[in-house]
């Protein structure tokens, strides 16, 4: 009996793919016929530049066969061979990490041999992926939500370790349902100082300020935010956002601001300040972003062309274009200069939004799209890069026919995370791309997942990816307690809040 059990056990173990060993790659290589193309991978991890510390880029071979043999090798280090009965290629974590580190600045070759049903092997051309010498920030925080329109339920902020592909929940909106967790911002990519905007029906709208492990609550509406490099100042937008629906657009939605403006929150003094230059009555200021040295603030600004604040959407919305503006700021004297049009919408013919300055201060990446403030809903939105010194701008080579938006720089200014809807126009996914010192982008690749078929049935969208240099350590309980608490920071909030339209609606 014991022998039978032993034989049975060994047979089962030997039957498990990978456990029973795999055919020698070189032997297969010798006997295989050659296909005159590279194999089709899903997600498309071909011809890309990989960060040296990225987790395994697992994929599915979109080829038919009965056995799949994949070999990943570089000039140095131990090659990885994955042999399986199905087309899923799951790369082991530790050998992958070692292989990447040994091939910094070099190339990884991916060779695929597929056994056909007649027993013959077919080998494809080698896929060559570059391994960059520039590491990527180890964490990325983002939000996932359904493709929804008015009523939300299932929103969640996650953080992901890019080195291991492990995802964990930061804040789930079900904890304060009905509610919504919106934009999150970190101070210089450091999650120990964070800002998270919350909207809830039962506990009010607020912003959570996380600093040194403690969570404070500011009981007012915050929109898009940007930390000053000194960490004492946050500029945020106050937006009266609404949305409308188009009958024949690819993406049915369109969002717009009836009114918007920028305000300043002094973290050190716990005080909200209104700066007239960036809170003008006739203008729609939004999307703030500090320069790397903190000497000026970039933001987008359009003109209010409507007087009726009830008609939805407002008249002439399609003609509202946002320019890229800049205003100097003197940290020592705490004074603001004069607003300057950095890149005019009249010159580009498009709206310029979501400016993000690279941490080295050299480049600024922004969205350009037909009109309005919402690039993420316009298929025509593309990412552009501008050399701040020369003001020369051009589209990044990572754009698609669909919307690209919500971009974030890594702390070393060499990686860009952004959301793209290139896979069908509706479901936004996070892509990573290398940006070289000249501002040229490599081919982007979708955020790797442990399950290579993950995206095939994931019906939610990703947005607001933000790189982080470390793990966000504040427990979810602390965030939820702060949201649900009646206690809040004693912030001096001006009587006129951002929620109040500054141009009063016409009487009926």
């Amino acid at each position: 009996v014991k022998k039978t059990v032993l034989v049975l056990g060994l047979s089962i173990v030997a039957g498990i793919p990978g456990c029973g060993g795999h055919p020698d790659f070189y032997a297969v290589h010798k006997e295989a016929s050659t296909a005159d193309r590279t194999p089709v991978l899903k997600p498309d991890y071909t011809g890309i530049t990989l960060p040296p510390n990225i987790g395994p880029t697992n994929f599915v071979l979109q080829e038919t066969g009965v056995r799949f043999l994949t070999r990943i090798a570089g000039k140095h280090g131990e090659p990885i061979t994955v042999f399986s009965k199905n087309a899923d290629v799951r790369i082991p974590q530790e050998p992958w990490r070692k292989l990447l580190l040994k091939n910094l600045g070099d190339t990884l070759n991916v060779d695929v041999c597929i056994k056909q049903s007649d027993g013959s092997w077919r080998e494809f051309r080698t896929i060559k992926n570059a391994v960059s010498g520039d590491p990527i920030d180890p964490y990325i925080m983002y939000r996932t939500l359904s493709v929804l329109y008015v009523y939300s339920r299932d929103l969640c902020l996650y953080q992901r370790n890019l080195e291991t592909n492990r995802e964990s929940e930061m804040l789930n909106a079900l904890n304060f349902f009905p509610g919504c967790c919106n934009c999150h911002t970190f101070y210089n990519n450091d999650p120990s100082k964070a800002f998270i905007h919350i909207r809830t029906q039962d506990f009010g709208n607020s912003a959570l300020v996380v600093a040194n492990g403690t969570v404070g609550k500011i009981p007012t509406k915050f929109g898009y935010t940007s930390w000053h490099p000194n960490g004492k100042l946050i500029v945020y937008s106050v937006n009266k956002v609404d949305q409308c629906f188009h009958a024949a657009w690819k993406d049915p939605r369109d969002a717009f601001d009836f009114t918007s403006g920028l305000k300043v929150y002094r973290v050190d003094k716990q005080k909200i300040v209104t700066v007239p230059q960036i809170f003008q009555e006739a203008a729609l200021e939004t999307w703030p972003c500090w320069s790397a040295d903190g000497t000026c603030l970039y933001f987008s600004s359009g003109l209010i062309t409507w007087t009726d604040f009830k008609t939805q959407p407002p008249e002439h919305l399609e003609q509202t274009r946002y320019s890229l503006m800049r205003i100097p700021y003197d940290e020592k004297t705490d004074t603001w200069g004069v607003v300057d049009t950095f890149l005019s919408a009249n010159a580009t013919g498009k709206s310029i939004t979501q400016p993000r300055v690279s941490p080295d201060g050299k480049f600024i990446v922004f969205c350009m799209h037909p009109y309005g403030p919402s690039p993420y809903l316009q298929p025509g939105s593309d990412l552009y890069i501008m050399d701040i010194a020369t003001r020369h701008y051009e589209p990044l080579a990572l754009n698609s026919e669909w919307s690209e938006s919500w971009h974030s720089w890594s702390s070393n200014s060499r990686w860009l995370a952004f959301t793209s809807k290139r896979n069908g126009g509706i479901l936004g996914r996070i892509y990573l791309a290398h940006i070289d010192s000249n501002g040229k982008a490599a081919k982007p690749f979708v955020l790797p997942q442990n399950d290579p078929r993950f995206y095939d049935s994931f019906v939610k969208v990703y947005n607001i990816p933000e790189f982080a240099i470390a793990r966000f350590t504040v427990p979810q309980q602390a965030l939820v307690s702060a949201i649900r608490s009646y206690e809040h920071l004693n912030v001096d909030v001006p009587a006129v809040t951002g929620a109040t339209p500054r141009v009063p609606p016409k009487p009926e």
Binding site: S146, L148, Y151, R153, N172, N175, F177, F245, A248, L427
Partner: protein, 620 residues
């Protein structure tokens, strides 16, 4: 021959549960339970995916949620659903009977049926969000029963067993583990009496453990997510199940039969007690009967059933079933679109009439008022009323308003969960719009749902998996799709339908709905001005209601000579119009019987509807 009294409870039980099964199958109709899934804010969706498995395995109470989901999914097949629901009721009855009989001898057997009856009331209201709680209670009773049978006398063994079972109950049924604790303590109190203290101490320690578990081990969201499914804050639950069950299990000594069934000569005191016993039995039986009657005849329940039935038929394209239903009770006083059931019934009627080719002729054979809202549920689809979303989704998809459909489907899926019928429609919408890759994501998600593989394969088989866009159904819908852009928020039904006809003048449904819109808005001029479209759409004759609108228009404008469709109007319509006008003259002069004649002859005509602002339908 003396009847064998011992077999009475068994015969009663068999008869009761056969009746229970038939009542559930034929009256409650488990298919409606399946239809209501998600419509009342709680949805049960099972899927074959790691995420789902994790949400079950790593959440206290996940097991109860899984069981409830499987039961609700099984309700798609009426007989299977009825069988499972009867099984749950049987489990509740037999489990409690077995538990109680161990601690009190021969209690009044009729009381065992109380949980089953209350469960039936819950079913008759389609309140399935209580199902995980009910299943958890059943599980707790069964665990308590097992404890009762195997605990033995040893205090250590009892405490160890109690701890293990309690933690297992917490893992499987979440906070319903408390019920298990209560049952065990009741058992210990009545059976072991003064030996209860070790178990009490253990219970106290476990309560602390449970509290710490909730605080540190399971994150906030898990607890709250689960609480939204098993909501113990609702007093109704206690009213329906917890209170009678607890009182029952606590051992109501007056209901015990032990003192009366000894067969000896009875004293006066015993005779009085026997009378009291019989009286109590009758009261309980009457209460049970009343509960069943209430469950069956309650107006709310009837309306709910009607609503569920209409949604079911509408979703499954059972047009004749919709048209043959007796909707008269809904329109008892007059059609009132404020009532959601009436609104959705009218909506389903329009859709059924269109699909059976009768919208232009028989629309007014059902009671109507001058409000076109039920046609497309234009305003209702912006409110938070899930059944209206689902109903509107079907119509606007058929019409070709794919972006509007996508908006509704998005709202519905976010709030009702990824239900298979919503995933299916989103797949179609994205395929129609040419977003194939996105359509495949929805389709792959759909394939993870049990029983949906066939639908998914059918969708793919027409074309091959790679190209949903060339599926014949998708191609047909695409030919009707809106290609003229406009902002939906600024539009009304008329603009939306006109734009559909601008995108494709051969969109017959858009045309008929537009005409119905004009008819219901009492705008015969617009009906007449759109009659020219009949030629393109291949009509052989002008539908009756359009002809009547044409006669009305001619009466108002005698010089009217607009070139109409090639089709001629029926002379009989003109004669009817003249007859109506004569009757109207009599009515205006308050002639006796003229009103009755008007209603009986013209109650379902456009002449009547245009004049009085409502139609009487088939009613005289």
């Amino acid at each position: 021959m003396k009847p064998n009294l011992k077999t009475v409870p068994y015969i009663t039980a068999i008869l009761f549960f056969i009746s229970y099964f038939l009542f559930t199958l034929l009256y409650i109709d488990p298919r409606l339970i399946f239809t209501f899934n998600g419509l009342n804010k709680f949805s049960f969706v099972f899927e074959f995916s790691r995420e789902y498995a994790a949400s079950i395995a790593f959440v206290p109470g996940g097991f109860a949620k899984l069981c409830a989901t499987l039961v609700v999914e099984a309700c798609e097949h009426a007989w299977l659903g009825a069988f499972l629901l009867t099984l749950i009721a049987g489990g509740l009855t037999l489990g409690t009977a077995a538990f109680v009989s161990k601690i009190r001898q021969k209690p009044l057997f009729v009381l065992y049926y109380v949980p089953a009856i209350l469960f039936l009331v819950m079913l008759s209201r389609y309140s399935m969000h209580y199902l995980p709680a009910v299943l958890s209670m059943l599980g707790s009773v069964i665990l308590a029963l097992v404890y009762q049978r195997i605990s033995g006398e040893s205090a250590i063994k009892r405490c160890a067993l109690f701890s293990v079972f309690f933690l297992a109950a917490y893992y499987l049924f979440s906070f319903t583990a408390v019920l298990f604790g209560v049952l065990v303590i009741v058992h210990e109190f009545l059976v072991r009496k003064n030996k209860i203290f070790p178990v009490l101490y253990t219970a106290a320690v476990l309560a602390v453990v449970l509290f710490l578990f909730r605080l540190f081990v399971f994150p906030f969201d898990r607890i709250f997510t689960y609480a939204s499914i098993v909501d113990f804050r609702r007093p109704l639950l206690y009213l329906f199940l917890a209170v009678p069950l607890s009182a029952f299990l606590a051992g109501l000594s007056p209901f015990s039969t032990v003192d009366f069934m000894k067969g000896k000569k009875k004293s006066d005191h015993e005779r009085i007690a026997m009378v009291l016993y019989i009286t109590r039995g009758i009261v309980v039986l009457m209460a049970v009967a009343l509960t069943m009657t209430w469950a069956a005849r309650d107006w709310t329940t009837k309306t709910l059933r009607e609503l569920g039935s209409v949604i079911y038929c509408d979703r499954n394209c059972l047009w004749n079933d919709i048209l043959q239903k007796k909707h008269s009770f809904l329109f008892r006083n007059s059609p009132n679109w404020q009532s959601p059931t009436t609104l959705l019934t009218a909506h389903a009627l329009y859709r059924a009439l269109y699909h059976t080719g009768r919208l232009g002729t028989d629309m007014l054979t059902f009671p109507q008022i001058t409000d076109p809202e039920p046609l497309l549920l234009w305003k209702s689809s912006y409110s938070i009323y899930f059944p209206a979303w689902v109903a509107a989704l079907e119509s606007v998809m058929d019409l070709g308003m794919e972006n509007f459909a996508e908006r509704i489907a998005g709202e519905a899926m976010e709030n009702m969960g990824p239900l298979p019928f919503l995933l299916f429609r989103r797949t179609i919408i994205q395929a129609v719009k040419g977003n194939d890759e996105c359509a495949h994501v929805y389709l792959n998600k759909l394939k993870q749902m049990p029983g949906s593989g066939q639908i998914a394969r059918r969708l793919e088989n027409g074309t091959g998996a790679a190209d949903l866009s060339s599926n014949p159904g998708v191609v047909r819908l695409r030919s009707f799709m809106d290609t003229c852009d406009y902002v939906i928020n600024r539009a009304d039904e008329e603009k939306a339908l006109l734009n559909l006809l601008k995108s494709n003048p051969r969109n017959r449904m858009a045309f008929e709905y537009l005409m119905a819109y004009y008819l219901l808005s009492r705008r015969p001029d617009m009906v007449v001005h759109n009659l020219y479209r009949l030629d393109d759409l291949g009509y052989r004759e002008i539908p009756m209601l359009y002809q009547e609108a044409l006669e009305i228009y001619r009466q108002r404008d005698s010089t009217f000579n607009t070139p109409l469709a090639k089709l001629a109007s029926d002379p009989y319509t003109k004669a009817r119009c003249e007859r109506f006008l004569k009757l109207m003259q009599l009515y205006d002069s308050q002639s006796r019987g003229s009103q009755a004649a008007l209603v009986s002859e013209f109650g379902s005509s456009y002449f009547f509807f245009f004049t009085f602002g409502y139609s009487t339908g088939g009613k005289s």
